[in-house]
């Protein structure tokens, strides 16, 4: 009896049957886990060991940061709705949801800029203590990831606006979405470890 491997018409022909771009994104996210793991580990080692400068309890504004965290969490909902929209071929809703994601991301980044500024006014900076160094490096690195994600999503929005995004290109949105959800889950951990768990 002759067996023939059958692939769906839309499948990308690879040895694994999996799309290489998606595999690459997951490999990147796995490696980024290790990067954030090292930053979180360093923060945990140095937390509570400061000779100068304000303590975390002196500067953290939990209600304010909670709103930022909620904004980022809800941006993940908008992101997954954007993906669902392009998978249905609904480009109008794709554009709306992409703008929502970018907007909520900007709310988060704006909040972080304000937070960093107010911490600086209270005497906390990169050099004043190991708490300051590890805190700003960890949260600043995450903020950079979010900023890059916003730029990426706005580029997709511009392409959609120009009519370059179609249902057949939903993988482009899916890959950007994976990156966006990743920065969201990293913040879930940072919010708990840095802000909520007392020193």
């Amino acid at each position: 009896m002759e067996h023939t491997a059958v692939l769906p018409a839309e499948a990308h022909e690879t040895t694994t049957g999996l799309n290489h771009r998606k595999v690459l994104m997951w490999a990147f996210l796995g490696s980024d886990c290790m990067l954030f793991g090292s930053l979180i580990g360093t923060y945990l080692v140095y937390r509570g060991r400061y000779l100068a400068g304000p303590k975390p309890t002196d500067v953290f504004d939990i209600p304010y940061t909670s709103v930022s965290a909620l904004a980022l969490l809800m941006s993940s909902l908008a992101m997954v709705l954007a993906l669902a929209a392009i998978q249905r071929g609904d480009i109008r809703r794709l554009k709306i949801w992409l703008l929502c994601v970018a907007g909520l991301g900007l709310v988060f980044i704006g909040g972080q800029v304000y937070e960093f500024t107010s911490f600086g006014e209270e005497g906390l900076n990169l050099a004043v203590s190991t708490f300051g160094t590890t805190f700003f490096v960890l949260t600043g690195f995450h903020g950079t990831h979010v900023t890059f994600g916003i730029v990426w999503l706005l580029m997709i929005w511009i392409m959609a606006k120009r009519g370059q995004m179609t249902q057949a290109r939903s993988l482009d949105v899916e890959i950007a979405g994976l990156y966006w959800h990743f920065v969201d889950i990293v913040w879930i951990i940072i919010f708990t470890v840095v802000y909520l768990i007392p020193v």
């Binding site: 692939l7 769906p8 839309e10 499948a11 990308h12 049957g17 999996l18 799309n19 771009r21 998606k22 595999v23 997951w26 490999a27 996210l29 796995g30 980024d32 886990c33 290790m34 954030f36 793991g37 090292s38 979180i40 580990g41 360093t42 945990l44 080692v45 140095y46 060991r49 939990i62 909670s66 965290a69 909620l70 969490l73 809800m74 993940s76 909902l77 992101m79 997954v80 709705l81 669902a84 190991t130 997709i156 392409m159 249902q167 057949a168 290109r169 993988l171 899916e174 979405g177 959800h181 990743f182 969201d184 889950i185 879930i188 951990i189 919010f191 708990t192 909520l196 768990i197 007392p198």
Partner: protein, 106 residues
């Protein structure tokens, strides 16, 4: 970005928008509970395990439903979990080395 295959061969159907909204509501509720726990002095002795369980639940929900790991090919989960385990190992190693074995800090 080029036009490519939108999905791979072993994908199951994903949840719909209504399910995504319900998941977001649960995620939001968990966040509210986390912040409430922070403000309840009676829960201070157990605050760390409580917050870790709640944030792990949020993490798993986003990764499983929004990142579609629950529905996608298991190789994606494996690739992500390898990175997560390496990160967790690194964090535990740092804490053991500098807190319990008291290696000198800079």
């Amino acid at each position: 970005m080029s036009a490519q295959a939108p999905t791979h061969t072993n994908e199951h159907s994903h949840p719909g928008p209504n399910e995504y909204i319900k998941i977001a509501a649960v995620l939001g509720a968990i966040t509210v509970v986390e912040v409430a726990i922070y403000y309840i002095p009676a829960l201070r002795p157990v605050i760390m395990p409580l917050l870790i369980v709640l944030s792990a639940t949020k993490f798993a929900m986003v990764a499983g439903f929004y990142m579609h790991l629950k529905f996608d090919h298991r190789i994606f989960t494996s690739m992500f979990v390898v990175g997560l385990v390496a990160a967790a190992f690194m964090i535990v190693a740092f804490i053991v080395l500098f807190h319990f074995l008291r290696a000198p800090l800079a």
